[in-house]
Symmetry: C2
Subunit: 126 residues, 2 copies
């Protein structure tokens, strides 16, 4: 079974973490039958952390896990920290195929998202 | 003339700021004739800062400026800091219509972007 693991930075502000979990729920409801498992995890500051998220996917029956970094830029977290964590998990679970998606800013759809977002702008009154 | 101002947090890492500027260029090339001006600005840590970005748009002939926050979550920067800065600019430029778009995570297109991104995932080898 294929799993998607949405990985965000994690915040001290609960609402930000809740937004990520809500997004993972929406993702689950919209990705069709291609992914039987969709979960969220955090790099730091919030539960569940990435290794635990990967463990949970495997416990639920995942044989393949795609990590989706919920990050805009190719900063240190995306280029170094997350790959290092995944690498350790890959060693621990050699039979699970773990893959890593690009950061969001690399997506061709980002332009469409921004232009659509501009339509929903609200006037700022002085 | 209508302007789009893509506003990111700003990073000490030049490459992250360059990615934002490159994205603003792509946005300029793809938003058609609806927006005559497309620029980028930063909340902190990098040039140009938001008030200067707004000034530049006005100098280039903008009569209406849509601020696009390049932020994933509705954290303090999106809810408080950016609106406060824009509010001050609105007082200084009462004849310019300044509007603020929602954060990216609020977009319906985010789900499509994530699912598309998953297709481009690369296997992590131990």
């Amino acid at each position: 079974m294929k799993a998607l693991l949405l990985v965000a930075h994690g915040s001290r502000r609960k609402q930000s973490n809740d937004e990520v979990e809500t997004l993972a729920e929406k993702l689950k409801n919209n990705c069709g039958e291609q992914y039987g498992i969709v979960k969220s995890a955090f790099l730091e500051l919030a539960d569940v952390l990435i290794p635990d998220g990967i463990e949970q996917c495997i416990e639920d029956g995942a044989t393949s896990i795609t990590i989706l970094p919920y990050f805009l830029n190719s900063g240190r977290h995306v280029v170094t920290d997350i790959p290092n964590i995944i690498n350790t998990c890959t060693i621990q679970h050699p039979n699970i195929n773990i893959s890593l998606a690009p950061h969001l800013g690399a997506s061709d759809l980002m332009i469409d998202l921004l232009i659509t977002s501009a339509v929903n702008a609200k006037s700022v009154e002085a």
